[in-house]
């Protein structure tokens, strides 16, 4: 190396932290994330924290309150169901676990997550950001946005949220990770679709080049250059998605034909398409985090009869997703499958009451469970609830206890497992070392 080059290198290293652009430059990571939100509040007694006998407030699922016809793992035991057990561990699961039964040795289930709320909006916010709402406002960003900002800001589409409650809050995040939030996969592909009757790719490339030049020029003259810098990066991301085969590949029909393993016409309907989108987008290294929202779990009345079917469909979708990731090559790592570097978190805003209400349904309850499938997490069931009231128990895993595990603990543990300092983004929560592999 020439002396001049060496000096330049040292000078660059010294100056880098002082230059915002360089200091913010995020190293490219090859970890991927899928976050699934079961909207409405799920009944954990049907899967993670199963109950099959009446005790205290607990009225278990039975043929009187649940449609058991399509539940594959429902084996009658008395008035209720038989627990699903494992020959290799003390794992006990409920019948609505669906396809995840085959993957039970890979599941990290955390029970007795204390939610301190029974409001949908507040529960969603607490589960995904680790903070309760302040008035109506969010105090912190959601976990998908945080991980993307740390590990995937350079990605073409860092965060795609299909009905997932993503939120970008605060000013410590990279602007490029503002979530692409849509109601359906179709909305993403339609936005990038362009008619070929008038402009061609060359015209659009020229327009984009002009817009990025103008944004860069304005940034260089501006007191607040950041909005222009981000507009530049957002404009630059558009042409590859407009001109390539993105809109064709990610059309509903094409995704369904590429991934027939998912059940598109089933209980979850269109929501399943987002899982197919996730596999294809990860495979093509287009996204860092995909958020998937699945609705229909808020069953206060007679609709509770189908709650177990809804849960089974959710876990079937997750199981299919995991199996596809196991057989899909990682886009940037040789001889590696996507599942080895993909972290999947399934959560809801709270669970449902242990008792059945007078309408035949279950209401909101300030307890919760979470499911994580990640190479960085230890498989097993952690945390617990009391036998009569289904309320969270203090967890011996929490160092700052005695207290139950809370959402900020889970989010901090996920960030910690990736080498990210949680306190940079989360006010509360500790890294629960007992959950980590």
């Amino acid at each position: 190396m020439r002396r001049r080059d060496l000096l330049r290198l040292f000078a660059g290293a010294a100056v880098a932290p002082l230059i915002p652009g360089l200091a913010r430059a995020t190293p490219r990571s090859d970890e991927f994330f899928v976050f699934v939100h079961a909207g409405g509040g799920w009944d954990i007694t049907l899967w993670a924290d199963p109950r099959n006998e009446e005790k205290g407030l607990v009225v278990p699922a039975s043929t009187r309150n649940t449609e058991v016809g399509g539940i594959r793992h429902w084996k009658p035991a008395g008035d209720s169901f038989e627990m699903l057990t494992s020959s290799t561990s003390s794992l006990r699961l409920g019948p609505a676990i669906g396809g995840l039964r085959e993957l039970q040795d890979r599941l990290t289930i955390i029970n007795g997550v204390s939610m301190n709320t029974v409001s949908h909006e507040d529960g969603i916010t607490y589960a995904t950001t680790g903070r309760h709402r302040i008035g109506g406002a969010l105090a912190q960003s959601t976990i998908d946005v945080i991980t993307a900002s740390e590990l995937g800001a350079a990605q073409l589409m860092p965060v795609v949220s299909v009905k997932f409650p993503s939120a970008f809050v605060g000013d410590q995040l990279d602007r490029r990770v503002v979530p692409l939030q849509v109601g359906s996969v179709d909305a993403v592909t339609r936005s990038f679709a362009r008619s070929s009757l008038y402009f061609g790719d060359a015209d659009r490339a020229a327009i984009t080049a002009l817009l990025t030049d103008e944004a860069r020029s304005l940034a260089s003259h501006s007191t607040h250059p950041e909005p222009f810098e981000r507009l530049e990066s957002q404009h630059r991301a558009i042409p590859p998605l407009v001109t390539g085969d993105f809109t064709r590949t990610f059309s509903t029909r094409q995704l369904q034909s590429l991934y027939p393993q998912f059940e598109y016409g089933g209980v979850l309907g269109e929501d399943t398409l987002a899982a197919a989108f996730a596999v294809e987008a990860l495979k093509r290294d287009l996204v860092r985090c995909v958020g998937i929202g699945v609705s229909g779990f808020d069953t206060h009345g007679i609709d509770y009869r189908r709650h177990a079917l809804q849960l089974q469909a959710l876990f079937d979708m997750v199981a299919t997703l995991v199996k596809l990731l196991e057989t899909t090559r990682h886009p940037t790592r040789a001889n590696t499958m996507l599942s080895e570097h993909t972290h999947l978190v399934v959560l809801s805003e709270f669970c449902r009451t242990p008792g059945i209400n007078r309408n035949g349904g279950r209401d909101h309850y300030p307890n919760n469970s979470a499911l994580i499938i990640s190479p960085r997490f230890r498989p097993g069931v952690f945390g617990g609830t009391d036998p009569e009231q289904l309320l969270p128990l203090d967890s011996p895993l929490v160092a700052s206890g005695p207290r139950p595990i809370t959402p900020p603990d889970l989010l901090a543990t996920l960030l910690g497992s990736l080498g990210i300092e949680p306190r940079r983004y989360l006010r509360d929560g500790e890294i629960v070392k007992g959950l980590l592999a």
Binding site: S191, F199, D203
Partner: protein
């Protein structure tokens, strides 16, 4: 009366006492002011313009169109779809899917708005340049569009568009801007042959319009 006399006597008695003497001592020097460094960097929270602002601007620019009229104009020729197809992509709340209003712009939003802008610009070219509408009745291209314009001829037309979309004369903008847009015009003319739906010049003006409606400065409004 007796009370007043008593108070007056007390005051007089007090006033006749020995005088208090205050001697002046040496003045101590005031401690020097500490230099306080004020951080005068920008503190405004980072944000982008809300999507309604973009959309309202679009509807106003193209003649104060209603959302329905905009749709009728933009949809023809597979240029745009229904508003409902894009609600969340445009950043608007979509209550069908419980997707809240977007508080920041993102790539999908820019792409969806870009699709709308492209559609409206092409339609305006058809309605005004192609149909040879009298200049006084034009909303966007209110200038004489000379085929294969010289730089000066282009500058005159560009100034009209610049005033419409960015709100001030092109001459007050950065000096390179005119060159960049003239170059875009020439590139698009070169990309197209005669005999298509629009002439190469018309396509070029549509491209200039499309770039201006998506211009980063529109984010300042």
């Amino acid at each position: 009366m007796k009370g007043i006399a008593f108070v007056a006597a007390c005051v007089l008695a007090g006033g006749c006492g020995p005088k208090a003497v205050i001697t002046a001592g040496p003045t101590r020097a005031l401690p020097p002011h500490r230099e306080i460094v004020l951080d005068s960097g920008p503190k405004a929270p980072r944000r982008m313009v809300p999507p309604e602002v973009f959309l309202r601007a679009y509807l106003t620019w193209f003649g104060g169109l209603s959302p329905g009229a905009t749709l009728l104009r933009a949809r023809e020729g597979d240029l745009f779809d229904q508003w409902t197809d894009y609600l969340a992509a445009l950043g608007l709340p979509d209550h069908h899917f419980d997707v809240p209003r977007a508080m920041q712009s993102n790539t999908v939003m820019l792409a969806a708005i870009g699709r709308l802008g492209e559609a409206l610009c092409i339609r305006s070219v058809e309605l005004e340049l192609r149909a040879n509408t009298p200049i006084a009745s034009r909303v966007i291209f209110a200038f004489e569009a000379t085929p294969q314009p010289t730089r000066a001829q282009f500058a005159a037309g560009f100034d009209v568009l610049h005033r419409t979309f960015l709100g001030y004369p092109a001459g007050l903008g950065p000096p390179q801007r005119l060159e960049r847009f003239f170059e875009l015009h020439q590139k698009v003319v070169a990309n197209h042959a005669a005999g298509q739906r629009l002439t190469p010049d018309e396509m070029a003006w549509a491209a200039v319009c499309t770039a201006l409606v998506q211009h980063p400065e529109t984010g300042l409004y």
